[in-house]
Symmetry: C2
Subunit: 199 residues, 2 copies
């Protein structure tokens, strides 16, 4: 009949372009032209796939969030020991460094949220998933008798997510005073005192 559609691949390509561009120029001053250039296209072509920049950004965030959370939650199937699982969960939750493009997108978007209701929804969904992840790990450890929680699971999870967010933001935001290693140490110390010693 005619030329077949091939939009999924293009969309994935565009999302990657968003991630790359965010890493270098930041999200706040991100233009359609930037993304298009990074993808090797023109503005018009990008608009062909997404109504506007906002739609593309939301999609990129959603995809990034899922990639991040799924990968981390997959640890549950690989690691049986709760202490080890907690340790790896913490490590996987922090950026690998200031140039971790995906994490940077997630954090920058976090900040930019509050603008549109859609953004807020996405960010809150992400937050829910982070909480669920930690809660799950803590519960498993408690059931196995490896953890002896001195806090309700919810509060412990809340605090661990908060620590993760703050350290992640600092690392990605270029606060040179906090290295990845230091952040992991600090989170480990906190978790240990909460009654859940990670490895």
């Amino acid at each position: 009949m005619a030329r077949p559609k091939n939009q999924d691949e293009r969309r994935a390509h565009l999302i990657q372009a968003v991630i790359d561009t965010t890493a270098s120029t930041g999200l706040r001053s991100l233009s359609l032209a930037d993304v298009a250039r990074s993808a090797g296209l023109t503005r018009g072509a990008v608009l062909y796939y997404y109504d506007d920049l906002d739609a593309l950004l939301s999609e990129a965030y959603r995809a990034g969030m899922e990639r991040f959370c799924d990968r981390r939650d997959a640890l549950r199937d690989t690691i049986a020991d709760p202490a080890k699982l907690l340790g790896e969960t913490i490590r996987a939750g922090l950026p690998t460094g200031p140039d971790d493009a995906l994490m940077r997108l997630l954090y920058e978007f976090d900040v930019v949220a509050g603008s549109s209701p859609l953004h807020s929804t996405l960010v809150e969904a992400m937050y829910e998933r982070q909480l669920a992840t930690y809660r799950h790990v803590l519960e498993r450890g408690a059931e196995a008798g490896v953890f002896d929680l001195l806090l309700d699971t919810s509060t412990a999870a809340l605090n661990l997510v908060a620590l993760e967010d703050a350290y992640g933001l600092h690392i990605v935001g270029g606060n040179g005073q906090i290295s990845v290693g230091r952040a992991v140490e600090a989170m480990f110390d906190a978790a240990r005192l909460f009654g859940a010693p990670p490895v």
Copy 2:
């Protein structure tokens, strides 16, 4: 001779306008015109006092940071009991609610940093002050024998600041899932387990 200068007052007025405007429209889409309107002036008049929007924003951040930190550090002279001091320090470090204009400016600026070196410097200075505040409180409590820290002071302070940042950001960012009360509770729990029970 002639009309006397009265710039200090005007500058303070403009800074307040920045805080107000940030509270309503957010920092990311803040224009000179917005600030001018909020101050009851024209763009030109604002430019008469500051070279550009960035200079005004930096000044507003610096002023806001000092106001915040000074007020909080003043607690040290009022409250003798370390446990009480820690509790009040934690409370004073969190926004009063989603509409805490000053805190919102500080957090939004935090995020926008990384752009200019000046911004980064300011944000790092703020971070240093937060750390110093907590370190000081913890040390005082340890010396008085009220706290029995299970973490080095630095790590405990690091974690408390991280918790403060994360919860503050959530509150101000309109994450409805975290109330101020819940944040205080969680931080109190954490501090308690660190060996520094707040009141």
